[in-house]
């Protein structure tokens, strides 16, 4: 078998680059969706807010300022090629990239070491959460996702009664959306259904990585997403919670197999500043053992 060397320094460099990019450059699909929302929104205040958000994205990119002062807690998704060889501590090389971006990029450091006591800022916005998945190939795909505290706070997980089925699922999503006026709507809702208590929240959050305008490959779930979006927008919460037609830009559902007695559902709420950036690190050399 031929293995290909991935330099840890390249991973650090790429993470630093992506963390900065995610904070400063609004995802093109999100920006396009905000522009589309402007043609739907009827509330004058809602329209004003949407205009500000579109202008904000432009200024952030031009002046390399963060889109939001809450530069978040970072999750890094690593897709590690099975034929890639890494010598050393992959986890630490990712943290080093996050550290560099936050220290050198004038991003806010919002992480405390002892949340139970509410003390000791780590000073560099680490540690980031790191999820590693093995995939085919010999390269490493990286996605950096910073997420703010306000939208994390309204996210929720519930073990629903199996008898409740779709009705209970939709009710729960609506309940979470109804409590999200302060979480900077228009929102993007990632919904995880199934799996288990521990990983359903992960599914919900990963759903936010899907393109705003994509369509669920599973027609049943695509219908559910559309129906939920319509119902959430019927709440009237509107941009910034000031009232209006556009409360959410998208609802994304991810489903996983699950125990017959359980129906875990998680809703990961994202503000309109849904931030992520992806890139790939390719091998620098080939190793023939």
């Amino acid at each position: 078998m031929i293995l290909r060397n991935i330099e840890l320094a390249s991973i650090t460099d790429k993470i630093a680059e992506l963390a900065l990019e995610a904070n400063v450059r609004l995802r093109p699909d999100v920006l396009a969706s905000l522009k589309a929302a402007l043609s739907v929104e009827e509330s004058p205040m809602g329209r004003r807010v949407l205009e500000q958000l579109i202008e904000n994205a432009k200024i952030a990119l031009e002046s390399a300022l963060p889109i939001c002062q809450d530069t978040g807690i970072v999750t890094v998704y690593v897709k590690l090629g099975r034929d890639a060889r890494i010598e050393g501590d992959l986890f630490e090389s990712v943290q080093e990239g996050v550290r560099r971006a936050y220290l050198e990029g004038y991003l806010r450091k919002s992480i405390i070491r002892h949340p139970a006591l509410g003390v000791e800022n780590t000073g560099d916005n680490t540690p980031a959460a790191v999820e590693i998945e093995m995939v085919d190939g010999d390269s490493v795909d990286l996605t950096v996702m910073p997420k703010g505290g306000g939208s994390e706070n309204v996210s929720s997980l519930k073990m629903l009664p199996v008898s409740g089925g779709l009705t209970a699922i939709e009710g729960f999503v609506l309940e979470v959306a109804a409590g999200s006026a302060a979480a900077c709507p228009p929102l993007i809702l990632g919904v995880g259904i199934g799996g288990n208590f521990a990983d359903v929240a992960g599914s919900a959050k990963r759903a936010l990585l899907r393109r705003i305008d994509d369509r669920n490959k599973e027609p049943r779930l695509a219908d559910l997403e559309e129906r939920l979006l319509k119902r959430v927008n019927g709440l009237g919460i509107g941009p910034a919670g000031l009232g209006g037609r556009v409360t959410a830009l998208a609802v994304k559902v991810e489903e996983r197999s699950c125990h017959i007695a359980c129906l875990p559902v998680a809703v990961s709420v994202s503000c309109h500043a849904l931030r992520s950036a992806s890139g790939t690190v390719v091998p620098s050399s080939t190793v023939v053992p």
Partner: protein, 184 residues
């Protein structure tokens, strides 16, 4: 029409503002969030000296990003006001006339706002690069050891906001939805 407001926020100015008004705020404000607001409330309760005279002041619930070289201010925008609800009645009683934040407030806070004839403004959350262009000066003012939670002093020039809760308790978060929500 945008109503221009010059700080400090006097009772006379506060009286002219109604929920839903679009405003441009100019003058000096203090940015404080969770820990700083809690400390202020504790000092008020124990009758100790505050780092700033709060009379007719406006508190901005915010923690800006570090100031990059060559700029007046880093990215700055409102954080969720609800977390400051427990401290708000004491801050208002100590003289705070206005707050800038995002999101709805508790019924207790709404009644405190009415009682002390204060105003709650909202600025657009997640528009921190845009909002920073209305800040002409920005510095850590007190408790630098709190890092992002220190009190900052900011000079604003026509800073865009909306009146969310007015002196009569008019509340955009309850009134704004009317006409846009549907039963489904």
């Amino acid at each position: 029409m945008v109503k221009e407001i010059r700080l400090p926020l006097t009772p006379e100015t506060a009286r002219l503002l109604r929920a839903g008004d679009e405003v441009g705020i100019s003058g000096t404000i203090y940015a404080a969030r969770d820990v700083a607001c809690r400390r202020l409330a504790e000092l008020i309760r124990s009758g100790e000296r505050l780092p700033v005279d709060l009379h007719d002041q406006v508190i901005f619930f915010a923690g800006p990003t570090p100031v990059p070289p060559g700029r007046a201010c880093g990215a700055v925008g409102p954080t969720t006001s609800k977390r400051m609800d427990p401290y708000t009645p004491e801050l208002l009683e100590a003289g705070v006339r206005g707050m800038i934040g995002k999101g709805p407030r508790s019924p207790e806070v709404v009644s405190s706002i009415r009682r002390f004839r204060a105003v709650y403004f909202v600025a657009t959350g997640g528009a921190a690069a845009l909002l920073s262009t209305f800040v002409t000066r920005c510095e850590v003012f007190a408790w630098p050891e709190l890092g992002p939670e220190a009190i900052w002093r900011l000079a604003l020039e026509a800073f865009p906001a909306f009146v969310a809760i007015d002196i009569e308790g008019g509340d955009i978060f309850t009134e704004g939805r009317k006409g846009y929500s549907s039963n489904c």
